[in-house]
Symmetry: C2
Subunit: 470 residues, 2 copies
């Protein structure tokens, strides 16, 4: 099988490689309204698996799913000053509905802080109701001037968590739990993306938050992608929406809230972290289809053997699919499975039946081995585990190999041309951020010297991780 | 434990009973924008289970999930004449976005036929691509003048399937497969709602369809609820969006399409089919929580016994929750579990530990039995199966007991005051439909004399099922 070069190589034009993968692996199309996207079945199957895995972790963190309306009265957004300022230019507004002009225009949610906090205020009565932990899966709209499929789209799918706590300490601890266990845990263990959890600078903070925590991933062009954020909102929204609770002393203090979100942007991050010049590489733990048993050519005993192997692999708990479309050229199908990044292919032809061995092709290391039929389940199981680990190790090595320690803004900008720089935060500060911005470089997050996440940007000796970003 | 009458009785005021259940069982709230709703965690857990079960059946029917944009160019809706006419008065329109007025206003999808067909036209090339079977989970907006939570809301959640076929026969067969296996199968087997599958009259047809198939459920006030519909769209959308395929003879005929949907309205149907004066009754197969093990009062050995039973039930594959909130009065908690309709409660107090027996309370038959600890898993498993069947049998008896055969429109209107009438379709016809409408009575569906679903409304001897409806 000769591999046709269907994709622009990463090195010659990374953005075009990305677009090629999105199109050729049938992940998504542009929608008709500027900046919207159509997520095609294969792309959606990746998102569905992300949802399932992340949802389980969100439930482990004690949050329950709920659903709030898409339409928000314009007045709600205006109650929290920074919040409205942050979102105004991105809003889509419905002015006409039910055959007439509306008296009060309604906003299509850019995020649900305002509407959810309005209800949390009703539901929170006493300290016994706290913490109140909610999550919502849905679509949001932020009008994008420079859209890019999965990364920056006018409409995207996401989850947004919203929680209410009795104390600042409890809210802070929960926002951090979501950052580490829910987000970084999922991204590292399932997506095999070695994200760096850190604290955003005040300039990069979410509109209305007192602290924004982030998981930053490094893509294969050295740019950063913000993969998920967890915000401490202090008492800002509690004051704006009057969320108070009766405490044990009979007083009614304002509560403390958090919010946190991760979106279809993660699909873009997956593509750009693991993809290569042959297409996607899906981590086995995420893959909706971990193994494709492929009939190379029809022939005596081929179909029964293929079906038997599918049954055996499925019985072993492996997500497996059969490709017996012998009417389509084998080479074309093989290229398609490579493009789609299916971790393992088991290829079976007429000669393999006679020989009692099949070919196990592993997408991640790129290996191809004749394997006795009796060993297939064991070999495939081991391959799936090993390749999950290999992807994470490879991405970690890439990230570390493209991160340098520097001491000046000039060096930081230099380093950002193909990776990240670590620079003392005291050397950057607000002024330095403005200077870096001239070269399209931003502080992705702040870390303590030991790599842990600081509580505030005012701690001594913090390190700023800077780079270009999506 | 004395049961407090927290709900308006069904017989005294059914609509108010419904509102009471929605509020007291914490299923949903009204949203701030007219006709929108907030689905609270318990209500959403019911929807999540419906989604999971229905999604599995949709995948069994060969359809794959995808996602299309919320925003549709106004011009798309105008391409299919009946479709635009059907939806115009209900549309919500975004005229302002990204800080300025839009050149072409965009519509918030009331359904996605138009935008999906635009893409299907690109993806369908040859007969080898057919059938192409897609499904989408998402939100849609239809501006409602008389909103009612879950039943008729400005925004609702649903799935919408969209498929393309080479022949009319294949499209018709698929629309029927979805009707029977996917919808009626799910509603009968999981929701325990004995829906009647039938054919809509031309008057009641979906805008743009050639035939609309429906599943009609009877609520406990005798009204009908349309629980799901499956439409043959003929070549109407294929012509409007130019969906053609290269056939084996090298010609490019128009394809045949279908669409089908079921929504959060099913939650309303569940409430009104099984609910009683004490609240909801959730069918065991649907219930996110099938069993609550309740600590009646703290005491020696109570907590360990409760935890052991939770572990045993869970190991037996039962969805179980522990309620050990001994600080809240037991009576209050029991009323709450009744309201929420949890199928089985296992109640444990200090005396039960000594006696080696606990109380198994079944919500559906309303029974309460002392049960030896060693028998709990078996007794509960049997109760869940028996009560699933009992709910379906009860709802079927209710439906059949409130359906009468009549021969005149006058009698049909009479019968519709607390149920359905079956009347020869030849006695009704288009004129009869108009006369029934004066009494707010409609033809819910047409059936053959043997109860099967006719192919067209022109078959001889059809029976019209008529009634009031939501
Ligand atoms: Zn700070
Ligand atoms: Zn007809």
């Amino acid at each position: 099988m000769a591999r046709t070069a269907v994709l622009t190589p990463q090195k010659s034009d990374f953005p075009r490689w990305y677009q090629d993968v999105v199109a050729k692996a049938e992940l998504a199309d542009n929608g008709p309204v500027r900046g919207t996207m159509v997520i095609r079945p294969y792309g959606y199957s990746i998102w569905e698996r992300m949802q399932a895995e992340l949802d389980a972790r969100i439930k482990d963190a004690g949050a329950r799913n709920a659903y709030f309306p898409l339409f928000i009265p314009e007045s709600y957004l205006q109650r929290e000053a920074e919040h409205v300022e942050g979102f105004s230019p991105e809003l889509a507004v419905v002015t006409h509905a039910g055959g007439k002009d509306l008296e009060e225009p309604v906003v299509v949610r850019p995020t649900s802080e305002t509407i959810i906090n309005e209800y949390l205020a009703k539901w929170v009565q006493s300290y016994r109701d706290l913490p109140l932990l909610l999550n919502q899966w849905g679509n949001v709209v932020r009008w994008e001037l420079r859209p890019r499929v999965f990364l920056r789209t006018t409409e995207f799918l996401w989850q947004e968590g919203h929680t209410v706590h009795a104390t600042q300490a409890d809210a802070a601890a929960y926002a951090r739990r979501i950052l580490h266990e829910t987000y970084a845990g999922f991204m590292t263990d399932v997506l095999a993306i070695p994200v760096v959890p850190g604290l955003k600078t005040p300039k990069e903070r979410f509109a209305g938050a007192t602290h924004t925590l982030t998981c930053e991933g490094m893509m294969r062009d050295g740019k950063a992608l913000q993969m998920g954020t967890s915000h401490e909102l202090g008492q800002n929204f509690a004051r704006a929406f009057d969320i108070r609770y009766l405490d044990a002393e009979g007083e009614r203090p304002y509560a403390w809230t958090t919010s946190w979100g991760a979106s279809t942007r993660m699909v873009g991050g997956l593509i750009m972290t693991h993809g290569d010049d042959a297409g996607l590489r899906i981590p086995p733990r995420l893959a909706a289809t971990q193994v494709v048993v492929t009939v190379v050519k029809a022939g005596e005993g081929v179909a029964p053997l293929a079906e038997a192997l599918v049954a055996e692999l499925r019985a072993a708990g492996i997500r497996v699919e059969l490709d017996d479309r012998a009417e389509i050229a084998f080479g074309r199908r093989a290229i398609d499975w490579e493009l789609k990044g299916i971790p393992v292919r088991v290829e079976i032809g007429p000669r393999d039946v006679t020989a009692g061995a099949v070919t196990v092709v592993r997408r991640i290391p790129g290996s191809k081995d004749a394997t006795p039929v009796a060993d297939v389940v064991r070999v495939v199981s081991e391959a799936l585990d090993a390749d999950q680990a290999a992807l994470l190790a490879e991405a970690t090595a890439w990230r570390d190999g493209h991160t340098v320690d520097v001491t000046s803004l000039y060096e930081a900008v230099e380093a950002a041309s193909d990776g990240w720089a670590r620079i003392p935060w005291s050397t950057v500060g607000e002024e330095g951020e403005a200077r870096l911005a001239e070269s399209a470089v931003t502080v992705r997050c702040l870390l303590r010297p030991d790599g842990s996440v600081p509580e505030t940007e005012d701690e001594p000796d913090l390190v700023a991780v800077v780079g270009r970003s999506y």
